[in-house]
Symmetry: D2
């Protein structure tokens, strides 16, 4: 693939687009925010004035958008990608959105004979800049085969999770587990503190025991045990409380829409929501431990 | 240490006592259940008729009892250990009980000039039989130094968690995280199934991602991904739902008694409680995934 | 109004339609289930073969359908009401559905110059048969003025809750409170039982105190205190667990879609869901107390 | 009864004691806080220097203390009431404490041949001052018969809830329902606001429907519908968040200790706990609606 249309070049899409430019891909870029667009144009992208223009005469279109309705609109709306794109173009949506919209958009693309991948990422802004993102990819085997080399220019781990929508499904299920287990670990440290059990001691024990989880051993919510975790830099993200609140909401909505019972997801979603509503949406999501223990929040 | 009084030689205490016998320790054993007592007597222990008798003329006393009130009674009650034990005897309680009772019992022992360790275990009946238990130990450094060699005859990993009660604190905090994360993983697999995402695929992704936790990667609640997990043998324990319900209750009570906020612990405790009340207390605790998905339970 | 098209004449719609017939209204009725349709035809309705046929040449159309997608389809789909209805016909949807679909459907009706009311009911099958339903109505003041006399033929209390969608909003908010408070009351009785406090005594106290709520004083979930409550007839509905699970899901989805934080709704929704998944969807929703206390369920 | 020993004359006990003085009862009063004690002495009580002194030569002893351990200590501790009290004196504890301590204290009193009532109150400081408290009373029929006339001097409604501890049981069960239903009502108003449904409209509908509860119709958490509710005076208590957090903790502990499953109580207890930890413990508990909606709290 030599030319790509890139729609949505903000916090995440911007560095992803720059990695494509560095890899020698020719880019047509669009973003409604002028400053975001100017940054990738400065880095070598061609500026276009509308999503449809980014979709014409390219080998692939990559989108990185805030939420499901934006994806529906950019692809299927008037002046959208599907109406303008050339035959044979591969469509890749890297937004994190609900499974239903992902599947519906892919279905519309197929009606026009186009292949599409849903390919949400994990790894945050840091991973986007370093080109070390993980892509969880849904779509046909053939579409995955075509898209994988392009995704490798923006990420390190590219996983095929199954048919259309399964990239979103994998991300939602994983982040649901993450969001809950971070609260679990925080409740554990909160109780330990009250019982006079040192955080480092609990870490030493649980990191080698049945309480072990990524939320503890890689992203420990209390300062000390894991020097690289956000807790050691005033809970600067990382992955913001707002983003976790969004993912937990997606998980809860998916559970409701599909008949899955998710009691802990429901409570955890509310807790991240309360964290955001108390004014901490910009802090790392692991700052949930401060809310649970009634500690003061660092300045954002 | 050459002679040990062992009080409570049932499912867990029985195999622990046998491992001491195998290591050449002379045992005085007591248990109110004749069948349990007979089994260790057959293995070489001396039968005694009361806790006080097990406490006389031994280097150490080890207790393995169901709950806090039993520990209070066996140590501090009429005809209990504290009234009968010889000076210099080391006391080790391996029951899983509340921190307050552990600390109060140690304090009473100290009033009589005796050292005491709270040393609850993880690893289950299998670990007790294999001598591979993990001991989480609270007590003075000196008491730990004295007790460690004895505990090594019954376990593989012996961890000093701090002063009196901290062994119980460590176990409670760890198992609280475990109990919640098992539900989290179960909710994740339940949602994946509804979204058409294969369990093995979610496992492949999350086991290397931010949703990784012991509940998934070592003790996976759905059949398939981890062949040794109870899910692959009809949810035969392992660690029963009843035992997890007990530990979650201990965690919730400790949180309430000490002012820790534990919303997910509260809900998870209720879920294990409902699992038990629906008649599944003898299944492995990972069968919570069957309750969440409305699947039928295997015969116990 | 003299002629009405009635679409959906099942458990609820059937008796509502019969009350219109009794009041002298001429009915064109449609239902995909032949047995339901035959019953109202026998009562005097004219049988039609499609929703569009029920919408032609009538003064008003009333719909009573299972869920949002059915409403979207019956009104806006091919061969739907909106394409067939005569100008000036008043549209009334009495289904319980999500607010967004209600508002979107009303908006489509207005594009065609038609007035529409969302008018979900409470009161159950008993209220439908007795003509004592409560209608919570959203729509313009003019539409409400036109529809009220018709609704009075099927119900006792007709409340205007504001603009389009507000009938659904009122029902969802009310039933969310109901669903949670029924669990609250059940937890209260469950604890009382364990503490040796007689159910009747708790009822006597709380019914005149700050714990008073409809779930206790009108619909008491334990047998005895309120003779007319389903608990006294083996939890025969009333209002089924399945219907409460549906309403709690609507409330939870509405909360998520609109940024409302609803922690108790999330847990209560899961509990009703677990009740249904354990096979009790046909019992009254107040049987949640049996699940919480681990009592056996009556045969359905 | 002519003379009463009154121990604990603070926010609640103070006005209760003054009502006894107004009724012509001679009081011996004790409180460790000098200012509280001085206030009732000024009102006519005799000052005594220790609980034991308040217990000698009186017809009854009334205690109003912060928590269970205080009650254990004041009655059963060294220099406590039980060691000093004259035969035939009636003991009445109006503190809100756990059922077990209440029953244990009564049992100790009986060992000494003394009758005792547990008689916690509802109605708050306002009810204490106005003499309109509700007393929920546990104890023997004979003790209740003897105590009722005295309680009537301090309250309006005196309810016999059964044997020892049942007064506490009734209060805990009632307040558990109250604490949950206040969150339920708050979630309902929060969702209504997001859906564009006016608070007054939801009130009008639900107050006459199945969502009706005391938390809405008497103590409405949003300003407007119920003019006398704390929401209309900047959430000045009323009943503080701290007191509700304490009662929910008692309910949760009682549930755990007695094997009752209480999922909503667990979450609601955490929510009130978070409200307190965020600095709002002195506001009325109905301010939980502000936390849920992310609104700013009034100055305390």
């Amino acid at each position: 693939m030599k030319t790509v249309g890139f729609i949505g070049v903000g916090n995440m899409g911007g560095p992803m687009a720059r990695n494509l430019l560095k890899a020698g891909i020719k880019l047509k870029a669009f973003d409604p925010a002028e400053s975001a667009l100017a940054a990738v144009v400065k880095a070598g992208a061609e500026r276009v004035g509308a999503p449809a223009d980014a979709a014409k005469g390219v080998d692939a279109v990559v989108t990185m958008l805030p939420a499901g309705p934006h994806v529906s609109d950019v692809y299927g709306g008037k002046g959208g990608v599907l109406a303008a794109v050339s035959p044979g173009t591969l469509l890749i949506d890297s937004s994190t959105i609900d499974v239903e919209t992902a599947r519906a958009t892919t279905a519309k693309a197929r009606e026009r004979g186009l292949e599409m991948l849903d390919a949400p990422v994990s790894g945050g802004v840091g991973g986007a800049e370093a080109g070390t993102l993980t892509f969880m990819v849904g779509g046909s085997a053939e579409a995955f085969r075509r898209g994988e080399p392009l995704l490798q220019k923006m990420g390190k781990t590219i996983i095929h999770a199954g048919g259309p929508g399964n990239g979103q499904a994998a991300k939602i299920c994983n982040n649901m587990i993450l969001g809950i287990s971070m609260v679990a670990v925080s409740e554990g440290f909160a109780l330990a503190e009250r019982l006079g059990l040192d955080a480092q001691t609990l870490f030493n024990i649980s990191s080698k025991s049945s309480g072990q989880c990524w939320s503890m051993t890689t992203y420990c919510p209390v300062p000390g045990p894991v020097p690289t975790s956000p807790a050691n830099r005033g809970y600067q993200p990382g992955f913001t409380a707002a983003m976790m609140a969004k993912d937990m909401k997606l998980a809860l909505q998916a559970s409701q829409a599909n008949g899955a019972t998710a009691p802990l997801c429901g409570v955890a979603a509310s807790l991240y929501d309360l964290l955001c509503k108390s004014g901490q949406s910009g802090l790392d999501f692991s700052s949930i431990v401060l809310m649970l223990t009634g500690k003061s929040f660092p300045k954002q």
